[in-house]
Symmetry: C2
């Protein structure tokens, strides 16, 4: 057990504090003091070795990503990050790995002002489970169920980079070194759109973060809101590195179905469009209108004014 | 992935709701509304197969225990249980196992009014990580650091049952069938002292739950409070099933060092002794005074007015 106390030393001493943490790590529970009239957003994501990441993933990037994916969930609700717990299971004590992992974790925790307030360290097959807590004004949470007929559909950032980055890592694709560096970084270090999410909160009608891929995740909004959508494939935001590296059709495939983008997909009523675009522009986050909500419950993809059916094109990511 | 949506169906549909859950399972985050002027207590515990439980542990008991050990941490802070997230990793979809596990989990969740508000289901070696949130009035949390010279030391319930229960399960001990049933149940289904913890909150000076064993866990209070303690071994509360089954010396060994009791160990200033005993008696939870806090930073065990050194007696649990 001494060994595992050593593990804890990598996390306990370095947890940044917040004024609203009354009791931090080291007691039976942490105690935090939410601001008056705030609600708490809670989310939990687990990363398991060989399922969500490969053993060769750099520990520092894994530390970063294990919090980033949770922050992305907070972003999709429009919440402000506050506190997290970390349940980490490791096969053995590897001090170099732990130093790197914790450096990556605290790098992003400090950037977004997240305090590590508790956790558990156990021996076993490597897996990491983070539970994140954020705050937001009461009755202001951005859910998946508010999209209405006529709302405009937007995404932040660019789509498909992460999936191509993974294929590059697995030697299933190749490209120039500078593009490769960019795309792999997008896979290992997704940017949670925390500020954009807060800017959306009072103006968007629905939001979700793209973890499984645009086509898959938009369905959650359509189902929860009981609406349909038209998405214009040629409006999908694609990075130069993506379009440099693969054919246009493959780029669309990555963008539609690649997954792990951790960009926000959101809908905006016509009346809020101007205010939202101003608010988002202030955050400095790129955003692109890609389609519109309609009646009917189905997703229709359009390209050059024709219906676009990626399954018939045999895109390998469409499974 | 379809398979894992099936797993989620065992948890999502059956989560009990609470009025303070504004958005439950199924969005990017849950949103909960803490009561005005309350702090939030947060704790996280992971149970890994072959480390914290054996593969032959009944799934229903594992469901129960995986929340019970977290509730015990809330109890030790004096917090009222509210919301939890569940990160569960399973090697395969076993519907019978899932039905049993979730039945045990929801049995205790409903008893203590805990709403499951989120989680993640992943494939991999079996492990379960619960993060629990409780509420308590601001600035009232019961920590490990408040014990003062002269305070009385108490424990709830009886000690050592769980450790003997585990030895019975592993065929390292034997006893009558009725005692065995009782002791194994104490191992599989510890009772989190939630009501007792709330009764202690304004009256005890420190508290901890006993997970590693009395001798080990009291050190956390002594270290955090910078005090010593005298514990009278012959005052340790022992169940009939324990004393029926092993020698007196072995019973002391189990009670001092066995672990997994999930009883509360707490300290009380002389001035609060009467009020605390009345408040605790109202909860119906058994409690026993076992010693007193002193200066000096060390733990002294006493038996028949002599210093008691369990190491020299070669107690097998003293390692």
């Amino acid at each position: 057990m001494k060994e595992f106390q050593l593990i804890e030393s990598f996390f306990t001493g370095r947890a940044q504090s917040r004024k609203d943490v009354a009791v931090g790590i080291g007691d039976d529970c942490a105690i935090v003091e939410p601001a008056e009239s705030k609600s708490i957003a809670i989310s939990c994501d687990t990363l398991v070795e060989n399922v969500h990441f490969y053993p060769d993933m750099p520990a520092k990037d894994l530390g970063y990503k294990s919090l980033a994916v949770n922050l992305s969930d907070l972003a999709a609700m429009g919440a402000e990050p506050a506190w997290m717990t970390l349940a980490i299971t490791l096969p053995e004590v590897d001090e170099h790995w732990l130093a790197e992992y914790s450096a990556g974790l605290f790098e992003i925790a400090e950037y977004y002002g997240v305090a590590l307030v508790g956790g558990d360290t156990t021996r076993g097959p490597r897996s990491i489970s983070v539970t994140i807590n954020g705050q937001l004004p009461k009755h202001s949470g951005l859910t998946r169920s508010g999209a209405r007929n006529g709302d405009w559909i937007y995404v932040t950032g660019t789509l498909g980079d992460s999936a191509l980055g993974l294929d590059l890592l697995r030697n299933k694709a190749s490209c120039s070194e500078s593009d490769s560096t960019y795309l792999i970084n997008r896979h290992y270090r997704p940017t949670p759109r925390v500020l954009a999410g807060q800017a959306l909160r009072t103006r968007a009608s629905s939001a979700i973060d793209i973890s499984d891929g645009l086509v898959s995740d938009i369905q959650h909004i359509l189902k929860a809101s009981n609406v349909g959508a038209t998405v214009n494939v040629d409006q999908l935001p694609l990075s130069k590195s993506l379009t440099n590296s693969v054919s246009t059709e493959m780029a669309y495939s990555y963008a539609l179905t690649g997954g792990e983008d951790y960009e926000l997909l959101f809908t905006v009523p016509e009346a809020q469009k101007g205010a939202l675009e101003i608010a988002l522009a202030e955050t400095g986050v790129k955003f692109t209108q890609i389609g519109q909500i309609c009646m009917g419950g189905k997703l229709k993809l359009m390209l050059d004014k024709k219906t676009f059916d990626p399954i018939n094109l045999g895109f390998e990511h469409f499974s």
